[in-house]
């Protein structure tokens, strides 16, 4: 694995679940569309591995699911943010902003604090 890929994997590891919460912030999402968006944005290498994460977020009650009948196929599972998920996202956003500013200030070209 290329070094840059390893770095990316490490970064994804800590942030992916908050990206999921962030994508659900405005509206509920069909599981497939949610996974595809994460994949298209290069936030996951393998789409299938998002499902275990979604399962855990559901168990932690940060998201919940609803089922919608589909006119063309089997019922679809939609994910949406719970109040606890919203609170977690707000908390992460605050920490992330501070963390990012710190890292940016240390990295070459960053603004020293």
């Amino acid at each position: 694995m290329a070094l840059s890929e390893t770095m990316l994997t490490q970064l994804r590891r800590g942030t992916l679940e908050y990206c999921v919460l962030g994508l659900l912030r405005s509206s509920e999402r069909y599981a497939f569309d949610l996974v595809r968006e994460l994949s298209d944005r290069d936030l996951v290498a393998s789409e299938g591995t998002v499902y275990p994460l979604l399962t855990r977020l559901r168990k932690d009650e940060l998201v919940d699911t609803t089922w919608h009948e589909s006119p063309s196929g089997p019922p679809r599972r939609y994910y949406r943010l719970t109040p606890a998920g919203e609170a977690r996202l707000t908390q992460f956003t605050r920490e992330w902003t501070r963390f990012r500013a710190t890292v940016d200030s240390i990295l070459p070209g960053g603004e020293p604090r």
């Binding site: 490490q10 994804r12 992916l16 393998s46 591995t49």
Partner: protein, 243 residues
């Protein structure tokens, strides 16, 4: 309806997923399997070739490893990918709590109890049937009209049929008697012929048989409704709360 599970490539993939997931708890595997099949169906609906969808999903082993990593030690599966570079996974989250809760309710004991009580609960002084009806309406497994169907066909369940059957049988119970008459043949004092007639009557001849037929018809209908409700609530099928 687009289903991909008939495609041999997909069948093979899902079989691998089942094998790889055999280390997970059955409910965990069921949850994962449902998600993956739904994903493949959605990809097929969009006209994506199965091979492409499978390549994007990653290997079954990789997905199961990520599941084990998320669910924590209760699965008893080592979290492959954690503590390493997480090769290819990108989802193993080192901070994942190990707390485990049951996945999405599917066919719960309460749903089964509802169906059993709707049929047999009437024998518990009728209260059992009422409890069954309440459980039916509380469940999110059925739509409102399915619940109405379950309630109306037939109130009381088997006890109603037992009652109807008893009435029908007692109405249709046959009484047989024989009447004989002696008729002189020819001259008085000559030979006589006796003829006997068997007569069958019932207490309510117009009611018994139709009532019995109606009982069987309703019984069949009631079993059909119960079977339908059980089928609608089968494991792996979506709930209907929002449908």
């Amino acid at each position: 309806m687009t289903r991909t599970t008939d495609d041999p490539v997909v069948t093979d993939y899902l079989a691998r997923l089942r094998r790889a997931g055999s280390r997970l708890r059955p409910d965990e595997l069921e949850d994962l399997w449902a998600s993956v099949t739904e994903h493949l169906d959605a990809a097929a609906e969009r006209g994506e070739p199965a091979q492409v969808a499978l390549a994007r999903l990653g290997t079954p082993e990789e997905i199961v490893a990520a599941y084990a990593g998320e669910a924590g030690p209760m699965t008893g599966v080592p979290a492959a990918g954690q503590g390493t570079d997480g090769a290819g996974s990108g989802t193993a989250w080192a901070g994942a709590p190990a707390a485990y809760a049951h996945p999405e309710p599917r066919l719960t004991g309460r749903d089964i109890a509802a169906l059993v009580l709707l049929q047999g609960g009437g024998f518990l002084c009728g209260v059992g049937w009422l409890v069954g009806a309440v459980l039916l309406w509380m469940s999110d497994r059925w739509k409102w009209w399915e619940k109405l169907l379950g309630t109306l066909v037939v109130p009381g369940g088997l006890v109603t049929f037992a009652g109807l059957g008893l009435v029908a049988v007692s109405s249709a119970s046959m009484e047989t008697y024989e009447t004989c008459s002696v008729t002189p043949v020819g001259e008085p004092g000559g030979p006589v012929a006796d003829s006997c007639m068997t007569t069958t009557t019932s207490a309510s001849p117009d009611l018994g048989l139709p009532l019995l037929l109606l009982t069987f018809l309703l019984l069949g209908l009631s079993f059909a409704v119960t079977a339908y409700l059980a089928w609608r609530a089968r494991p792996g099928r979506a709930g209907s709360a929002t449908a």
